[in-house]
């Protein structure tokens, strides 16, 4: 029989992890349980000791600090939707509404979404476009790294044995966030491709001060588009259209949802649509 730990404090959780780094970490369970079901279908139930972090004090809070926002790793998609956050988070909020269905949004956590490191993680592109960082704590240590550094590959992160993701740090930035997801049905759908961006645009002139754009589900890890971002900076929003070259770094695959050629073309179209949204929301400031 496997053991089940449900500590109330971060200290206790880190101590447990320090003693046994192979603990299976459970938060909202929305990835862990389906994976267990999939494993059980052809093999059997996995018997691993579990560290349930859902009751760790304070780890679900979304807090405004002097220079940044701190999103507790246990914040659910619903928490993000309901939080009072500046417009630069709008992309993340739209992504939260597009995750699974309400049942998943009520349970799935932002920390879990990043740690699961699916190439199609809905949280990755918006967080990357927010320049978000991940806080990984272990006994006596805390490492902070950008989200796109943290996610190393398909289902692979740089989380070290004994570490726990405790939160996500989002620098305070002006501008507005956007998000677009493409799937073959309306709800409960894994993305074929998705894009998210944050745009800081001068109100009067429409000049882009800065843009950060990330594409998901078209590479092992969601990718920023630095070429395009650089081309956009200093131009009027709407004047520059993305090109295939801007997205050349993507490495989409063929799978049951779509083929690579399509993903590449769709990503380009979604980026263009995202720029259109940014231009439209600039013309109609909220």
């Amino acid at each position: 029989m496997s053991r089940y730990f449900q500590p109330a404090t971060l200290d206790d959780a880190l101590q447990l992890l320090a003693r046994n780094s192979s603990l299976k970490i459970v938060a909202g369970g929305t990835d862990i349980y389906p994976a267990a079901t999939s494993q059980a279908a052809w093999r059997g139930i996995e018997m691993r000791d579990v560290l349930d972090i859902s009751r760790l004090n304070g780890m679900r809070d979304i807090v405004e600090r002097v220079h940044d926002w701190h999103i507790g790793a246990l914040a659910t998609w619903t928490d993000l939707i309901n939080a009072s956050l500046p417009p630069v988070f709008d992309g993340l909020k739209i992504a939260a509404r597009e995750v699974g269905g309400i049942q998943i949004q009520n349970r799935g956590t932002i920390g879990g979404n990043i740690c699961n490191a699916s190439p199609a993680a809905d949280g990755a592109p918006p967080l990357i476009a927010l320049d978000a960082e991940i806080a990984c704590m272990s006994v006596g240590d805390c490492r902070i790294m950008s989200v796109d550094t943290f996610i190393e590959g398909n289902r692979k992160t740089r989380l070290r044995p004994g570490e726990l993701v405790t939160g996500i740090i989002v620098p305070k930035r002006p501008g507005r966030g956007h998000f677009l997801k493409l799937g073959a049905r309306r709800y409960l759908v894994i993305s074929i491709a998705m894009v998210s961006g944050t745009f800081d645009i001068d109100n009067a002139s429409g000049i882009v001060r800065s843009a950060r754009i990330a594409v998901g589900a078209c590479s092992a890890v969601a990718q920023r588009l630095p070429k395009l971002e650089a081309r956009l900076a200093g131009t009027r929003i709407g004047d520059i259209q993305p090109t295939a070259d801007d997205l050349a770094q993507l490495a989409p695959i063929d799978d049951v949802r779509a083929d690579a050629d399509y993903r590449r073309a769709a990503a380009l179209q979604l980026v263009a649509d995202l720029l259109d949204q940014a231009a439209a929301s600039h013309r109609r400031p909220a």
């Binding site: 029989m1 496997s2 089940y4 449900q6 459970v26 909202g28 369970g29 929305t30 349980y33 389906p34 079901t37 999939s38 059980a40 279908a41 052809w42 093999r43 059997g44 139930i45 018997m47 579990v50 349930d52 859902s54 009751r55 619903t78 509404r97 699974g100 269905g101 309400i102 049942q103 998943i104 009520n106 349970r107 493409l182 073959a184 049905r185 309306r186 709800y187 409960l188 759908v189 894994i190 074929i192 799978d255 049951v256 949802r257 779509a258 083929d259 050629d261 399509y262 993903r263 073309a265 769709a266 179209q269 979604l270």
Partner: protein
């Protein structure tokens, strides 16, 4: 096994549950091992165990969650609200009432989850918008209803108006679906719910290879190591190790012998407790993978491996229909169109995975499982056990969706063999993945068709050659091969027809029965060619269908004269104003939009009700009890479509007895308690069993009239009160007869039996004869919006006109139409089962609440003199026209003809690229 304790409030009461902290909340609720004893809460259903279907939705501190994803430890100290407390919460009570009144539940297995999700919404938002409702239920899949009535019910529940179901006053009323009314409260015992505590579990060992030889290692040692009751293999099958639909196609083994023929084929089964903890990778079996035959071409190739030795060419069955001279028909035409079309494996995706349990009782083997065909199950179970049919009893549970997938046995023979071997009650519940990989699918088809018409658009010839991949075993392959040629040219008058089909064996998942038996596939081909002909001849697409539409008095290509009830012209006429308006709307939109293009498509269908040119009788027994209750002992399994309700309405209308209390006995389909009504398939139950019930009721009424010694048209009524009811005859009830005087004491009361077998004739080698007693007809229009840059299609509206003969229950008819359209939309746009890849409900997509457009239904009633009160079937007709109408609309929007479904975005995009947008 006591493994820990978790305390939380469930439905207002604090309970201590004995459970492991990592057990899912769904499992803990359903097991119900509490400090106060066992109290299973089986209103919470499990459809996938992966958060993909939402049927286990409960509220956790007021928030909707999938109970299958919540560790029990996380519920500790919190409040859980399940369907079981529907009476406690005003919003939930109204939701239950509204779901029943609006026909929002069919099979009802998703309903508790649906109501849970809606309850979560209404407690935080008392007047939600339609969009907010869709957001709230988007995480719960329903395969029956098409969601429209669910949204309507939630709107009604959110309002203030009183909610009441329409009363059943006989034929033509929208009386509530009785089974669904039970299910909506979480009361229904679906197959997994019905499994009693303490049965021995079964876990099936399945082949990971499409084709492989295998040999077992030391099974005894493995059994001992894991404390198993036994391990079953082919050697344990006491009778014939084979089952199947037709007497000559019993080709599928319970457990494969030496070699497997498809991925997921059963080779052995573990019997015991706690089986899911066993890692099957350690099971002592050696696989030798062999080269599988994949796809139709490989199967038909020269020298291909024969899937079954007795069929060296891998052709299971051929179908043929020939009339006139197609060569001349094409030669004389002004326009000819041809094309090849392809469809994919499609999964039924009923929300209830197969399950059942078996026990021995009074010398009989009893199997209680979800099924669409109890009497056929009995034959196969008896065969596998080497027993007489009478030694086996099938006691069906509530069925959480079927759509053809539960016409074949699944768990039944395995349960039977296990019971025979261990002699103790046994149970087996398929996981979602097991349900998807091991049971039948819709046949993938490759159809080559050619159609010709004269300059006026009148069809002169139709030629079709269709290959249907029937997978590793016959299942219903012969039915598909025989039914398709009759229907393949569509519901049109065509003088020269030659349609040929083959059911082809491969090393793929067996393809069987799925709503439409191949006709949805062939309709995609023939309706595309109708559009081609219209285009070539410069005719309107509605017009070409209207002038060719079969009507009463016409002869079909089988040589059958349709004497009545061929209502396609009326269906098309009903849609004409919509057609004209939709075309104008589309062109107005398209004039100003380069990227998002609207399109309108139209398709027609016909479908013979009942088996193809085979006897398919139904027998119904009705009893009158001394207290005035009329009980219908129905063998017609209700899989959510509402046949039990339909039978009550037919019997009420036939008996014409005021105050009669009419009900279907809960032992529906029990092979000991009911007569064989035939399978619930082929859109036959309303027509065939409805007729049997009507005949039984006519006899019952006649008997009562004789006892009262009155004329046939005398008014009858029952007066209740006291122990026995009194029959009142005459317009003022002047003649009084106590039922106690005419009904002898006894369990069955006073009974009558009605039998009906549709009048058909065998077909000759050219498919000539009378294959069906009646046909359903329909026309549907789809309006779509295509994003030509992304290749995505949004269906904006479906308009459906269906000739159902007579709508015994308009609400249930509409429910069938909505649900069929939802499945047709899935077939067209998203559904593709790929073995090894789409084995769950997040990789295999079925439509969600957000994917179904508004549906406008036109119920056309062109009564069939043969049908009960004129009625005929609608279950399969509902689905058939949808996909071709959507494909026609995509073509209208974009100019590209889609020849392979599903039209996933990347496929449409590739077509648009090839055309050069």
């Amino acid at each position: 096994m006591t493994v820990g304790a978790v305390t939380f409030t469930v439905d207002g009461v604090v309970e201590l549950f004995y459970a492991a902290p990592g057990d899912t909340l769904a499992d803990v609720l359903r097991a119900g091992e509490t400090s106060r004893g066992r109290n299973p809460r089986k209103g919470t259903k499990i459809g996938c165990n992966a958060g993909d279907c939402g049927s286990c939705t409960v509220l956790l501190d007021g928030e909707a969650v999938c109970a299958c994803l919540v560790p029990a430890a996380q519920a500790s100290g919190r409040k859980v609200t399940t369907i079981d407390s529907w009476k406690m919460w005003p919003e939930m009570s109204r939701l239950v009432d509204a779901f029943i009144a609006h026909g929002a539940a069919q099979c009802g297995i998703c309903t508790p989850g649906m109501i849970g999700a809606a309850h979560g919404l209404l407690t935080r938002n008392g007047s939600p918008s339609r969009r907010e409702i869709e957001d709230a239920i988007g995480g719960v899949l329903c395969r029956c209803t098409g969601y429209i009535k669910i949204v309507e019910a939630i709107v009604a529940a959110a309002g203030d108006a009183p909610i009441a179901a329409a009363p059943d006053t006989g034929v033509g009323t929208s009386a509530k679906n009785q089974g669904a009314a039970y299910a909506a409260k979480g009361y229904s015992n679906f197959a997994a719910d019905a499994i009693p505590q303490g049965t021995l579990g079964i876990r099936v060992i399945r082949s990971p290879h499409a084709r492989a030889a295998f040999s077992f290692g030391d099974l005894d040692a493995f059994a001992k190591q894991h404390d198993l009751a036994t391990i079953l293999t082919a050697a344990d099958v006491p009778g014939a190790n084979s089952f199947g639909i037709f007497p000559h196609t019993k080709d599928q083994p319970v457990f494969a012998e030496r070699e497997t023929r498809f991925r997921a084929e059963a080779v052995a089964a573990l019997v015991g407790q706690n089986l899911h903890a066993i890692d099957l990778a350690t099971f002592p079996i050696t696989w030798t993978p062999l080269s599988p035959v994949t796809g139709i071409d490989a199967a038909l190739a020269e020298g291909a491996h024969a899937i079954h030795a007795h069929l060296p060419d891998n052709v299971l069955t051929r179908g043929n229909l020939r009339t006139g001279d197609v060569v001349r028909g094409h030669a004389d035409a002004a326009a000819t169109a041809e094309g090849q079309f392809e469809t994919s494996f499609v999964e039924h995706a009923y929300i209830e995975p197969e399950a059942g349990h078996a026990w021995g009782e009074r010398g009989q083997v009893v199997i209680s499982a979800c099924t669409q065909s109890p009497h056929m199950d009995r034959e196969d179970v008896a065969r596998v056990l080497g027993l007489a049919d009478a030694d086996v009893r099938i006691a069906p549970t509530a069925c959480g969706g079927g759509f053809g997938g539960k016409l074949d046995v699944s768990v039944q023979p395995i349960l039977a063999v296990a019971l025979a071997r261990v002699g103790k009650p046994v149970s087996l519940t398929y996981s979602r993945t097991e349900s998807m990989v091991a049971t039948t699918k819709r046949h993938p088809a490759r159809i080559t068709s050619k159609a010709s018409a004269n300059k006026d658009g009148r069809l002169t010839a139709y030629e079709m050659s269709g290959d249907f991949n029937t997978g590793a075993y016959a299942s219903w392959g012969p039915t598909v091969a025989n039914r398709v040629p009759i229907h393949a040219h569509g519901p049109y008058k065509v003088p020269n027809v030659h349609n040929r089909t083959r059911a082809v064996l491969t090393n793929e998942t067996p393809a069987g029965a799925f709503r439409g038996f191949g006709v949805p596939q062939s309709a995609i081909a023939n309706e595309a060619l109708m559009d081609d002909l219209a285009e070539k001849l410069g005719l309107d697409r509605w017009h070409i269908r209207r002038i060719n539409a079969l009507k009463a008095g016409d002869a079909t290509a089988s040589g059958q004269v349709l004497v009545a009830s061929a209502g396609l012209p009326q269906c098309l006429d009903a849609l004409k104003p919509t057609w004209d308006k939709a075309l104008l709307d589309a062109s107005a939109h398209n004039a100003g939009n380069a990227r998002h293009k609207r399109g309108v498509g139209i398709a027609c269908m016909w479908y013979g009700c009942g088996n193809t040119a085979l006897s398919n009788p139904s027998e119904m027994r009705i009893s009158l009890e001394r207290d005035g209750r009329v009980i219908i002992w129905s063998g017609a399994v209700d899989i959510g479509q509402g046949i039990s309700t339909i039978l009550v309405q037919i019997v009420r209308e036939t008996l014409q007895i005021d105050g009669a209390d009419i009900a279907v006995c809960p032992l529906v389909g029990d092979t000991d308690a009911t007569l064989d009504a035939g399978k619930t398939s082929a859109s036959r139950q309303t027509f065939v069993s409805g007729n049997a019930a009507r005949r039984a009721a006519e006899q019952l009424r006649a008997k009562l009239l004789r006892h009262a010694n009155v004329d046939a048209d005398t008014k009858l009524a029952f007066e209740h009160g006291g122990q026995f009811a009194t029959l009142l005859a005459g317009s003022n009830g002047e003649r009084r007869v106590s039922l106690a005087d005419i009904i002898p004491e006894g369990f069955y009361g006073f009974e009558s039996i009605g039998r009906y077998d549709p009048p058909t004739t065998p077909l000759d080698a050219n498919g000539q004869g009378i294959p069906y007693a009646t046909y359903g007809f329909a026309a549907q229009i789809a309006e779509v919006m295509v994003d030509t840059a992304l290749g995505t299609t949004k269906v904006l509206h479906i308009h459906a006109a269906h000739d159902v003969g007579r709508a015994i229950n308009p609400m249930l008819v509409e429910g069938q139409i909505h649900g069929g359209i939802a499945q047709g939309l899935g077939l067209a746009l998203m559904e593709e089962f790929v073995s090894g890849k789409t084995e769950n409900l997040h990789d295999y997509l079925i439509p969600t609440a957000g994917d179904i457009p508004p549906i406008t239904t036109h119920i056309i009633e062109d009564p069939d003199p043969e049908g009960p009160f004129g009625a005929k079937g609608v279950g399969e007709p509902a689905l058939i026209a949808t996909a071709p109408a959507i494909l026609g609309a995509i073509r209208h929007a974009t100019g590209v003809t889609v020849r392979k479904v599903p039209v996933l975005p990347h496929r449409l995009w590739a077509l648009l690229q090839a055309r050069g947008t």
